[in-house]
Symmetry: C2
C-alpha cells in the first residue's frame, strides 16, 4: 500500500472520528456504578420513592415535585419551592439524562446520582427532614415498602443507602433518545430542517460546543466525580450580568471555598432545553432566545444577530427527545399511623 | 298457580332484592351528566390538568397533590397543605369513586365533580389563584394545551368550564372495582375470610350500613345535588368528642348558615378506607381501629369490644379495590415565558 493511500485512509478515519466526537447521538442506556447495577426491581422501587411526598417533612414534596418527569424534568419555576413555601437560590436542573453527568448539582457537590438523591431529603428548605433516620423511619412505618425493598435488595434492606440506590437506578432510566438531532446524526438528513441545520453550524462556528459537547451537550465524557465546570459569566462587562444578577451566586466556590471556583458552574445539558424554561442557575431568564443571546455575550463575547439567535434556538429545539412512557407507581398506604413529621 | 306458591316466589324475589340493595358491588363505570359525556379526549386532557401544578399560583400544587391517585386518592395528611405551606381545617376526601357522590366536599357545597374541580384552584389556601381567569391565562400561555383542548371540545375552547369538565371526566374513570367484598357479593364465597364475614355481619347488625349503604358505602343513591348528610357526632357525650375536637367544625352549617345543619357532614365512602388514614373530616384520628370505635360510640352509642372492632376493620380491609393503572400524562412545556403567578 502506498503511503499516500494510507494517509488518505487514516485521514478519512480520523475525520470520521472527529465528526463522531463532535456530534453524538444520545445513548439509550446510561452507565451504572459497579456497586449498583440497574435491575427492574430497583427501578420500580426507585420510582415509588421518587414519587413519594412522604419523604418530606410535610408530606407534600417529592423528588418529582421539583424534577417533574411529567414535563421537562424540572418545575417551571425560577427557583424551586420546598416545604412550607420556602425557596432556595437555584433553579432545579432537569432529571432527564442526569445519568450522563460526571458530577451532580449546579456546583458539582455530589458525584453520583446515589449521592445526589440523599441531599434534598434533609435540606431544610427542600424536603425538610431532620435527618435520614427520620426519613427512613417514615418509609419503615409504611408496611407496603417492605416487599419492594426486599425484592430489590434482600432482607432488612430498608435504609437510606438502598433508598438512594433505588432512586438512582430509576433516574438512570430517564433518558430521552431519538430527537430530531439524534436521527440527523445517525444519517437521516431530513430530520433537521434548513434553519435547524443553519443553527447547528452556527452553534459549532461560534464555539458553543467547546463547552456544550458530547452526547448530552454537557461537556466531554469524564470520570465520575470529575466535573466539567465553566465560569459563568466569563465576560462580565455587559448589561445582562446586572440585569439577571448572574454573578450573585458564587457557584462552586460556595462548596470548595476556593477563590478560583467563583462563579464556576457545571456545564448543563442542552437536551430538551425547550422544555425547561426559565433558564440558568438562578432561573432568571424566561426565554430561550434571551438565554442564547446571553450565552453568546457572557461566554463568547459575541453579539448575536436576531437571525443567528433564531437559528440556534431552532437547532436547540431539535434536541427535544422522546420521553419514555411512565406508569404511575402505586404508593403503599400509611396504614394506621400518622407518618407526617411536620 | 296456587296463591301460596306465588307468595313463596314473590317472597324469594323480594328477599333477593333486599339483599342486592344491602350489599352491592361497585359499578365499573360512573354516570356522567348529560352535558358532559365522557370521551377519551376529555379524560386525557383532564388527566393533564389534574396533574399540572401550574394551575396553582406557585406552580407547586396540583389536584393530585392533595388527591394523589398514586395512593389512596388523598395526601396522608390530617388536613391538606396548599400553596406556601398553608393548611385548612379539613382532610382531603379521596378522589377514588368520588364519581358516585351526589354532592361534593365534606359539606356538600358543590353538586357535580365539574363544580368541585373549580373550587380549589381559586381557594387562597389551596391552589391560590386570584381567579379563574388567572388560572386559564396560565393554561393559555402553554402552547401545548391548545391541541388537547381542541380535540376534546373543539376550537377556541380553552376556558374554565371545559377545564373543569375535562377534570371531571378524568375523575369519573377513577373507580376501584373488584375488591374482595365485590367478588364475595357477586358469589365468590371464598373471597372473604371468616373474620371478614364476621365483621361484615357485625357491620350490618350494628347498623353501620344505615348510613354507609349502597355500592360505595356512602349512602343511598340520590339525585345529583341532593346530599346524603348525617350529624357527626350524633352522640356527643363521650370522651372521643373532646379528644378529637369532633364538634369544632360546624360542617354543612358553615355553608348554609342553618342551625339544623350544625355538624352535618356528607357520609363518606368506605371504599379503600384502609388506604386513607388519618380519618374524619378533620383528620384527627390516626388509625382505622380507633375510627371504628369512635363511629360506634358517636353514631350508634355503642361500646365496641376489641374483637368486634378487629372484625369490622378486617371487613373494611376487604373494601380495598383494584386501582387502575395510570400512565403519566405529558405536560406541555411552559415555552419561553414564566407562567408562575407567585
Amino acid at each position: 500500500m502506498k503511503k499516500s493511500i494510507l494517509i488518505a485512509i487514516l485521514g478519512g478515519f480520523i475525520s470520521t472520528q472527529v465528526s463522531a466526537n463532535t456530534w453524538q447521538a444520545l445513548p439509550t442506556t446510561a452507565p451504572a456504578p459497579a456497586d449498583n447495577p440497574t435491575t427492574a426491581a430497583k427501578v420500580e422501587l426507585g420510582k415509588m420513592l421518587y414519587m413519594d411526598p412522604r419523604l418530606s417533612s410535610t408530606g407534600t414534596v417529592s423528588c418529582n415535585s421539583c424534577h417533574n418527569v411529567m414535563e421537562g424534568g424540572d418545575d417551571s419555576r425560577a427557583v424551586s419551592m420546598g416545604v412550607k413555601g420556602q425557596t432556595g437560590g437555584r433553579s432545579a436542573p432537569t432529571v432527564w439524562n442526569a445519568a450522563f453527568y460526571s458530577v451532580q448539582f449546579w456546583d458539582g457537590r455530589a458525584n453520583l446520582l446515589e449521592d445526589q438523591a440523599k441531599g434534598p431529603i434533609t435540606n431544610p428548605i427542600e424536603m425538610g427532614m431532620k435527618d435520614h433516620d427520620q426519613a427512613m423511619g417514615v418509609i419503615k412505618s409504611i408496611p407496603g415498602y417492605k416487599a419492594p425493598f426486599e425484592k430489590a435488595f434482600g432482607k432488612d434492606s430498608v435504609n437510606i443507602v438502598n433508598a438512594a440506590k433505588a432512586i438512582a437506578a430509576f433516574e438512570r432510566t430517564l433518558i430521552t433518545p431519538n430527537s430530531a438531532y439524534d436521527r440527523f446524526v445517525k444519517g437521516d438528513k431530513k430530520a433537521l430542517n434548513k434553519q435547524q441545520q443553519k443553527g447547528m453550524n452556527k452553534f459549532a462556528e461560534l464555539g458553543c460546543n467547546s463547552c456544550h459537547s458530547g452526547a448530552a451537550f454537557n461537556g466531554p465524557k469524564m470520570e465520575t466525580g470529575t466535573g466539567f465546570f465553566q465560569k459563568f459569566p466569563t465576560f462580565a462587562n455587559n448589561s445582562f450580568v446586572e440585569k439577571y444578577k448572574l454573578t450573585d451566586d458564587k457557584g462552586r466556590a460556595e462548596v470548595t471555598g476556593k477563590k478560583e471556583d467563583t462563579n464556576m458552574f457545571r456545564v448543563p445539558t442542552l437536551r430538551n432545553i425547550s422544555d425547561t424554561a426559565p433558564y440558568f442557575h438562578n432561573g432568571s431568564v424566561a426565554t430561550l432566545d434571551e438565554a442564547v443571546r446571553i450565552m453568546a455575550k457572557a461566554q463568547l463575547n459575541r453579539d448575536l444577530s436576531a437571525q443567528d439567535t433564531k437559528d440556534i434556538v431552532a437547532f436547540l429545539g431539535a434536541l427535544g427527545g422522546e420521553y419514555p412512557e411512565i406508569t404511575m407507581p402505586r404508593l403503599p398506604a400509611s396504614k394506621g399511623s400518622t407518618v407526617i413529621a411536620d
